[in-house]
Amino acid sequence: MNTSDPAAQAAETITVALVGSGGSGVMTAGDFLLRAASKAGWYGMMTRSSGPQIRGGEAAAYVTLSSRPVDAPSDRFDMLYAIDWKNAERFSAEIPLDTASLIVSGEAGATVPDAFTKGGARIAELDVKALLKDVSGGRPNMLALGVVCTLMGIQPDAVEDVLESRLGKKGAMAIESSTAAAELGAKCARDLPSFPKLSTPAQNGPEHWVITGNQAAGLGALRGGIRFVAAYPITPATEILEWMSPRLPKVGGNLVQAEDELASINMAIGASYGGTPSLTATSGPGLALMTESIGLAIASETPVVVVDVMRGGPSTGIPTKSEQGDLNLAVFGLHGDAPHVVVAPTSISDCVFTTQWAVHLAESMQTAAIVLSDQALGQTISVIDKPADIAFATRRLVADTVDESYNRYALTGTGVSPMSLPGTPGGQYTADGLEHNPRGTPSSTAEDHAAQMEKRLQKIVEFDYGSHWADIDGDGDVAVVTWGSMTGPVREAARRVDPDGSKVRVVSLRLLAPAKPEWLAEALDGVERTLVVEQTHSAQFYHYLYSHFGLDTNAEPFHRPGPLPLRPAELEAKIREWTRQ
């Protein structure tokens, strides 16, 4: 809303940054802001940014609220609210401000760093310390919550509702002091410069959920039937494991914390061999350790799901920030010819579906499925429409009764052969990473090797993936091909240029491997120019499409590594230029 008087009209979307030093509670304030807005019917998302400290240290919460679904980071910030300014410059590159932006300094007498004021934002100051003098137990972050909610037009009862539900465990005193601080903030807001109010959200829409991508992946896994998880903690994937851990026993499953990722992938394979759909979740360094054993799952045809919540790499890289640099590892990282499945969620909401689908694919094809999520999807809290409840007929082909002729790796014509589970009399076989004959006996003959290689490839190539292989929106002769967390910014940019979807086609690949060049060609039929958008330094996705999907030679990569998100405005400019021609 770049207007001369920002308060003159209601804004469809407003983005706020809350910053503060360790212990100031900005994450809590951001979380409550998002939840209060959700209670009042708005959509939104919150991303977190923090320094390298384990606990404490400066932190920033970026909250976007809107009357329509939000699937991309904002181009700019309408407000920066600083509880204090200690080390706040660290975040300046992440918080673009301009003349329409408002900076609220909660630290009386402090100088706002130049990095924030150079764009010409208006500045207001609150002497929070003095204001809270008479509020027993009142904290600056709750005052900030009151200020921000009031400026944006979020009703006080929604704020009270959130304080009661989120602070209930801390007791009546905590609720009372927080409410008092928030009310005081609401009062202060009236004296601050004018600020746009959020436009009224649609009523009677679908049920809304507040969820992170990591929780959504955990839910999708349970919906898909995962009942064993082996876990080794790693940022930014740990929340999947922590969300699943207390819930698995409630559905008859369990989680084991392993000693390392080599153990966790093998525990998952062992459990799956026993008949239990199994999963592990990790990030790039963990996936690198697991690749040898993922090959074992493929060779022994034991279903397993591995979720990789990608972070900045290589090596330890930037563990708390997003990047899509594990694509090559997930697709090509296995030794030998090891056909497997790689899928990627196209949004936070889609983490439910895609993880559930991955379970379905792994179980149906008796192979390994890697889910490539990332930090931006995994750790962002989002207010979304309730994801659809999709029921796949997920059934592992099991040999319930066997006779003397039973061969575990029989050549069935589909590539999938019935698996006998331990306990089944007469079905005994040895699952093996060694090449084997149909019976499972180790074999190094050319004939057996060729037949089993073909079996393992055939089942994956010929599987019916339905229409789930990609999300395709819009039509026209300009196409943007993308994947994962880049889908949100691409969709937002395309919507701005082409609201009715007649000029720009957005293709987000959910099925990354096996490569399906014929499906992409069909999706791009009639397209004259193709932009390939991804968050990597070396344009991995572009090169993959070029080498394995027959991508047109005049397609152009649009790529940048993390940690800064790709913002819709950058893409919008590019797409606008192309659609004008």
């Binding site: 969820i211 062992g270 007469g426």
Partner: protein, 277 residues
């Protein structure tokens, strides 16, 4: 014959028809035989037994049995078996492997499997050499053993598996010798019966790369004292014995690990509620 006098399963019922890849005279033939004898003694149906292994000569055992088997990757047999056992507690799970697989590449899993104490039996056929790759020093090799890979010897003191197992929390520790297949079968049967993580180290000569190990038949001897459940006493014995004491050397009664089970099962759809605004 009455039902009581006719056991359902003989040792041969636990053997497959696959011919082992081992060299003539390898100690592992006897260990395979001891495993099948132990299973016959326990009368566990072959389909209710899973034999899990990593990589190496001795790790080939699963396919030579008539049980369910998993021949996994090098060093990862224990986590593979743990995943199977915790999700299928009804199965009898036996892990087999060698000293390189278990103490070197899989060393970390060995420590944590002892700690975790899942109800399973781990049989290590220790021949103090990497045989499958044709004669390199393993963690239990003497420091001055000459080899092409490390001329002049490793100059590293040998790993002490039983001491490490004790310190890490193994619930049952025994040492056997492949030259005594009946005695080893008894140890294995007892290890399987014993709840929790049971560790059986079997001295199993590699006649090809360590021909001097043929002499082990003269060096091994039953432990001169009874098994102890006193960790301090066991520590002293295991740290100071000559490496050739056979028999059950230590046992404990720690409760086996099992993940929590919830008696009140619910439907996955119940979790939808926690996300609703």
């Amino acid at each position: 014959m009455t039902a009581e006098s006719a056991p359902a399963f003989a040792a041969k019922d636990f053997k497959s028809d696959i011919k082992p890849v081992w060299c003539p005279g390898c100690g592992d033939y006897s260990v395979l035989s001891s495993v099948t004898k132990a299973l016959a003694e326990l009368q566990t149906p072959p389909e209710d037994v899973a034999v899990v292994s990593g990589i190496g000569c001795s790790s080939r055992i699963p396919a030579y049995t008539n049980c369910y088997g998993f021949h996994g990757v090098h060093g990862r047999a224990l986590p593979l078996a743990i995943g199977l056992k915790v999700s299928r507690p009804d199965l009898t799970v036996i892990v087999t492997g060698g000293d390189g697989d278990g103490y070197s590449i899989g060393g970390n899993h060995f420590l944590h499997a002892c700690r975790r104490n899942v109800d399973m039996t781990y049989i290590v056929m220790d021949n103090q050499v990497y045989g499958m790759t044709k004669g390199q020093p393993s963690p239990t090799t003497e420091p001055d053993w000459e080899s092409g890979l490390v001329p002049g010897g490793t100059r590293i003191r040998p790993f002490m598996p039983l001491v490490v197992a004790l310190a890490s929390g193994a619930n049952f520790i025994a040492r056997g010798f492949s030259g005594d297949p009946n005695g080893t079968a008894q140890l294995i049967a007892e290890a399987i019966r014993h709840p929790g993580f049971s560790f059986v180290e079997v001295l199993s000569p590699c006649v090809t790369f360590r021909p001097e190990q043929r002499n082990w038949k003269h060096e091994t001897h039953p432990a001169p004292v009874e098994a102890t459940n006193d960790r301090g006493r066991a520590a002293r014995r295991l740290a100071t014995d000559d490496g050739f004491n056979t028999g059950v050397l230590f046992y404990d009664n720690r409760a086996p690990y099992m993940p929590p089970v919830d008696a009140n099962l619910t439907d996955v759809q119940q979790f939808d509620r926690e996300f609703a605004v």
